[in-house]
């Protein structure tokens, strides 16, 4: 009797071809310029600022007057970024219900991080927003962090990114990102110096067989395991799926060759920055800005090549003890530098042993403003890079990207009664939201903000935790 048994890959390939072949011709653009912004991929990036800041309602440190942003009325934190005022909006008074609830149980530091992208009132959320988008579009999320991850007080304090109920630690070495996600995915462009010849890759069919074999092993193992171990295998399976995409994503030739509908002209071979490519560099405070800017370079190319559509970056851990480097002189507020200070102490305005300002050092608040500017300079760097890079339609990648940044903790001194919400800055997304505003969102929760993001990013979810109100952004 003939054996008609087919493996999963054969099935998927056949079905995929059956349904997509008739559409293929109509999907392919006649020319690159025929591509419209509506077909460009939409992306999400989150920058997390740790430990809270100076954020009092009676002191307009972060918040400009409600309405269109005006360079002349920007508060001290935002003044250095006046040139980008049309690219971002500031949200104030948006409620953080889940964070507040979780803070009562576990304290503000871990609650702020855990709930930031999950809006979950418990310490083991299933999934954070960037991974939801990653799952929807079938491309892995990038999880990055500004430190080496070993200087927080606990693992929970260190995490904003969650997948399958576990915190996901971020990469702190840009070289890892280069090698794992970009160095192999993007075909090298002609280079003046001869690049090493890549080894001939096994055929996609063999690679597929290998990964199918792994999945078959996984299924054999799964039946013998309990729930918690099965979850571990779920993580592994997700990794194999992502590997399938990665291996299958190798373009047939260089950027000059005919490209798919969403290939951006900015999809070029990235350069690895050897200065910051080591664990020693990741631990070297003075190289912090170099590392973060290198991450921004790589994120820009990763977006252009459509390797990923979601990124989270924890600029530093909650309660971490890493010393900050010196801030560029143009970012210093009233001359207060942050060199040698750790951001937690800066959040407390220079003195832990106090419940209020009485014990803060004289330049404690100016130093806090300098630190906020320092972190914002990393965001601004990415805004500029995404503004310069174009999608296939010619639209700036920035205009198809939501950059969400801000603190999880409302007030650095933990005086939450004095601050209604942590400062939130949202940039980009001009093709579907309107940046350049100062919004008062007193009637909304941050879960509503994520729900609104989800609609713009095409997640197709009915709500995000308790959030189901659409906000006009």
């Amino acid at each position: 009797m003939t054996n008609y048994r087919h493996n999963r890959r054969t099935f998927i390939t056949s079905v995929g071809s059956m349904f997509t072949l008739p559409l293929l011709e109509s999907l392919w653009p006649l020319t690159a310029s025929a591509q419209t912004a509506a077909n460009d991929p939409r992306r999400y990036i989150c920058f997390y600022f740790p430990n809270g800041t100076y954020n009092r309602g009676d002191q307009a440190t972060w918040y400009p007057p409600t309405g269109t942003l005006n360079a002349a009325t920007l508060p001290p934190v935002l003044t250095p970024f006046a040139g980008l005022a049309g690219d971002y909006s500031i949200y104030k008074n948006i409620a953080t219900q889940a964070t507040d609830q979780l803070s009562n149980a576990v304290g503000q530091h871990p609650a702020a991080a855990v709930a930031f992208m999950t809006c979950s009132p418990n310490m083991n959320p299933q999934i954070s927003f960037e991974h939801m988008l990653a799952a929807k579009v079938g491309k892995p999320a990038l999880v990055l962090q500004g430190n080496t991850g070993d200087q927080g007080d606990s693992q929970a304090d260190n995490g904003i990114s969650f997948l399958n109920g576990r915190v996901v630690r971020g990469l702190s070495n840009p070289g890892d990102l280069y090698r794992q996600l970009l160095g192999q995915v993007v075909t090298p462009s002609p280079s003046p110096s001869p690049a090493p010849q890549p080894k001939p890759a096994p055929s996609p069919a063999i690679q597929g067989s290998i990964l199918d074999s792994a999945l078959e092993d996984l299924n054999g193992l799964r039946a013998k395991l309990g729930k918690s171990d099965q979850q571990r295998l779920d993580d592994y399976q997700a990794g194999i799926r992502a590997l399938e995409l990665k291996l299958g994503a190798t373009p047939p030739s260089g950027p000059s060759s005919p490209s798919g509908p969403t290939t951006s002209p900015a999809c070029v071979q990235p350069r690895n920055n050897s200065t910051v490519d080591s664990s020693a560099a990741a631990a070297n405070s003075s190289l912090y800005l170099d590392r973060m800017r290198t991450f921004n370079d790589l994120i820009t190319i990763a977006f252009a090549c459509d390797v990923t559509r979601s990124v989270s970056i924890m600029l530093d851990v909650e309660t971490g003890s890493r010393s900050l480097p010196s801030a560029p002189s143009e970012l210093l507020y009233k001359g207060a530098d942050i060199a040698g200070w750790n951001n937690h102490l800066v959040s407390h305005f220079g003195h832990f042993d106090s419940g209020d300002f009485a014990h803060s050092t004289p330049d404690g608040i100016p130093r806090c403003i300098t630190r906020d500017r320092f972190y914002l300079s990393v965001v601004a760097d990415l805004i500029n890079k995404l503004k310069s890079a174009k999608d296939a339609s010619g639209s700036a990648i920035l205009d198809n990207t939501i950059i969400h940044s801000g603190f999880g903790i409302k007030d650095g001194m933990h005086r939450i009664e004095l601050a209604k919400s942590p400062p939130t800055l949202v940039a980009g997304g001009r093709n579907f939201i309107t940046p350049g505003q100062s919004f008062d969102f007193s009637n909304y929760d941050v879960a509503d903000m994520f729900y609104t993001f989800s609609t713009h990013l095409g997640l197709g979810i009915p709500n995000f935790q308790t959030g189901n109100k659409l906000i006009k952004l």
């Binding site: 074999s213 993580d235 990794g239």
Partner: protein, 600 residues
């Protein structure tokens, strides 16, 4: 109770002495004959030659033993009085640690290449047990799997490149394919079976619809050439969960309440990763394949054999870095301490641990040893006389006339737990002592703890005065009443482990290092505290529990774990017992040889 127990264990070991001696002696002589004076390259040759019997092993026999369980699980019902039917506990799926991955692939492909360095594995956080081999907290992300793929690819490439080299890895892995223009199917099947056995630490299934051998053979055949097929085989074996995870499974493993013995091969793996941090060697695999491993005599002999090997340095390193915490010194910024002296501090602890493990002395010496190993610089640092001939070399130093006992009075531990290089923070030391040496399980500080109100402290407040603010606060007192007295007991040591009697920075205020353990034992000073820790049954139980946790890669916190740890600790941590006694008793416990089913 333990008065009754000691004779029981004495009988246990005495009854097996002659058999153990003869087996151990034969193994020792054999291993010395093979390894003595050989270069690392020659040792690789030895391993390769030892592999030969497996390469030609009959596939039917491998398959027939694949599901063999340890069978006579009576041996794991042990002589302990904790009972013969208690639940042994359940270890979760164990992802190979970075060190285990490197050791394993090095053994599989006869290479010194560290695949983790090529693929740049992420640094892994230590698990709940504190040991690096406990990978329960290591997140398994898309990037992690991608790195495993890169590592597998690099190892496969290296293997293929070694083709044609005399004594190369290719010849060892695929001897039947060397010099063959066309490789016969029987040859590729033999390679799949032998490499599969060593990579997955069990024979591959070889019959029926789910035959792993057939599946892999089809993949190899489809690759176009044997070498491409071999490359694919290596990638498939190494990216498989059967390689990456050490799983303790059986038909009952997903049944709540079930208790089952480990299979022979699972037992071989658990033993090998415990003591060597790598895949079972040929001898263990052969014993498992023959169904001969799970006997008291064989397991005891294998423990002896594995501990005598230099590869048992794996367990020494686990104690040094993950238990004592000496590895934290490596990256610690210590401007006032020169790097040579810092290295000497770590080396001192390393030598004591090696003396215990390789010298087969009682583990109680970790807290009890009245001797240490120092170079002159370290002896000068402590203010002790150095009797060695060469100041740069490490020599044994007698501590009997000093207050020092074991690693808890060594600079590596004291600096790693000092909390600061400028002033000691007793809470940190107290927490280290409670968690790792008395197993008091004090939880970490809750998040968002408000800072101490320094305005309530007198000028030049001593650490004891500062900590009283904690203990006087009902919200903090629960933990700090346990931690603070323990930490203050170390106050006669400064951050760098030097002895002191006053606080130099606090106007020479005298040091009060008195305190009390939670069991009620009161000590007047550091010396009394260290003496207590050198003999305490609590410490013995805790040390046994740590070694049990290392063995089974899970926290040993059940009542049964506590009972077993206590009994073994009393029996195998006397002044005169041996390290191997302790390991044998752990290996013969139900916790090691059996597993509880999981909730489906």
């Amino acid at each position: 109770m333990h008065n009754r127990l000691i004779p029981k264990y004495a009988r246990y070991f005495a009854g097996r002495t002659s058999a153990l001696l003869s087996i151990s002696a034969a193994l020792l002589i054999a291993s010395q004959l093979y390894s003595c004076g050989r270069s690392p390259t020659k040792q690789v040759d030895y391993r390769r030659s030892a592999l030969k019997p497996l390469l030609g092993q009959d596939a039917t026999r491998e398959t027939s033993t694949s599901a063999t369980s340890a069978g006579s699980n009576d041996i794991f019902n042990s002589a302990l009085s904790c009972g013969k039917s208690y639940a042994p506990g359940r270890s979760s799926l164990h992802l190979l640690s970075t060190e285990e991955y490197d050791n394993t692939t090095s053994d599989l492909f006869f290479t010194s290449t560290k695949a983790s360095a090529i693929a740049i594995f992420e640094s892994a956080p230590k698990g709940q047990t504190g040991f690096a081999s406990d990978t329960g907290n290591f997140p398994l992300t898309a990037l992690t799997v991608s790195k495993y793929w890169d590592a597998a690819t690099a190892l496969a490439d290296e293997l293929i490149k070694s083709k044609g080299k005399a004594n190369g890895a290719y010849a060892a892995v695929a001897p039947c394919a060397v010099d063959q223009a066309a490789v016969a199917p029987t040859c590729s099947a033999a390679v799949i079976r032998s490499l599969g056995l060593r990579a997955w630490r069990r024979p591959l299934t070889d019959s029926g619809a789910t035959s792993e051998v057939a599946r892999l053979q089809a993949m190899v055949n489809a690759a176009g050439s044997f070498d491409e097929g071999l490359r694919a085989l290596v990638q498939a074996l190494l990216i498989s969960p059967n390689f990456l995870f050490l799983g303790i499974t059986s038909d009952d493993s997903a049944t709540a309440g079930a208790i089952f013995p480990l299979s022979q091969h699972q037992l071989a793996s658990r033993l090998s990763y415990y003591l060597w941090g790598t895949t079972p060697d040929t001898e263990l695999l052969e014993l498992a394949g023959n169904g001969a491993l799970a006997s008291e005599a064989t397991l005891s002999a294998q423990v002896e054999r594995l501990l005598r090997s230099p590869r048992a340095n794996h367990i020494s390193k686990a104690i040094l870095n993950d238990w004592v915490g000496a590895d934290t010194l490596v990256d610690m910024v210590t401007p006032s301490l020169n790097s040579a002296l810092k290295a000497a501090m770590i080396r001192e602890t390393e030598l004591l641990i090696q003396d215990i493990v390789q010298g087969d002395k009682s583990l109680i010496n970790l807290t009890a040893a009245k001797y240490s190993y120092m170079n002159k610089a370290l002896a000068d640092h402590y203010g002790l006389p150095f009797g060695g001939a060469n100041p740069a070399q490490y020599a044994a130093v007698d501590l009997s006339q000093t207050p020092r006992h074991g690693v808890l009075s060594q600079a590596s531990f004291l600096l790693a737990t000092a909390g600061s290089t400028t002033e000691t923070r007793p809470v940190k030391r107290g927490q280290a002592l409670a968690n790792n040496w008395t197993c008091s399980d004090v939880p970490p500080p809750p998040p968002g703890v408000p800072p101490l109100d320094s305005t309530k402290l007198p000028a030049n407040a001593t650490p004891r005065q500062t900590l009283e603010v904690h203990t006087n606060n009902p919200a903090c007192a629960g933990c700090h009443k346990v931690l603070d007295p323990l930490g203050l007991g170390f106050e006669s040591f400064d951050s760098f482990g030097k002895w002191r009697t006053t606080y130099e920075a606090l106007a020479q205020a005298p040091i009060d290092s008195s305190g009390e353990f939670s069991d009620g034992f009161k000590f007047k000073n550091t010396e009394e505290m260290l003496s207590y820790l050198a003999t305490s049954s609590t410490v013995k139980t805790c040390m046994t529990r740590k070694m049990l946790e290392l063995a089974v890669s899970r926290r040993a916190r059940t009542t049964a774990d506590q009972c077993v740890s206590k009994e073994i600790g009393q029996a195998a941590l006397s002044d005169t017992s041996k390290f191997s006694d302790l390991i044998k008793m752990i290996v013969l416990s139900r916790q090691f040889g059996m597993q509880s089913g999981a909730t489906p």
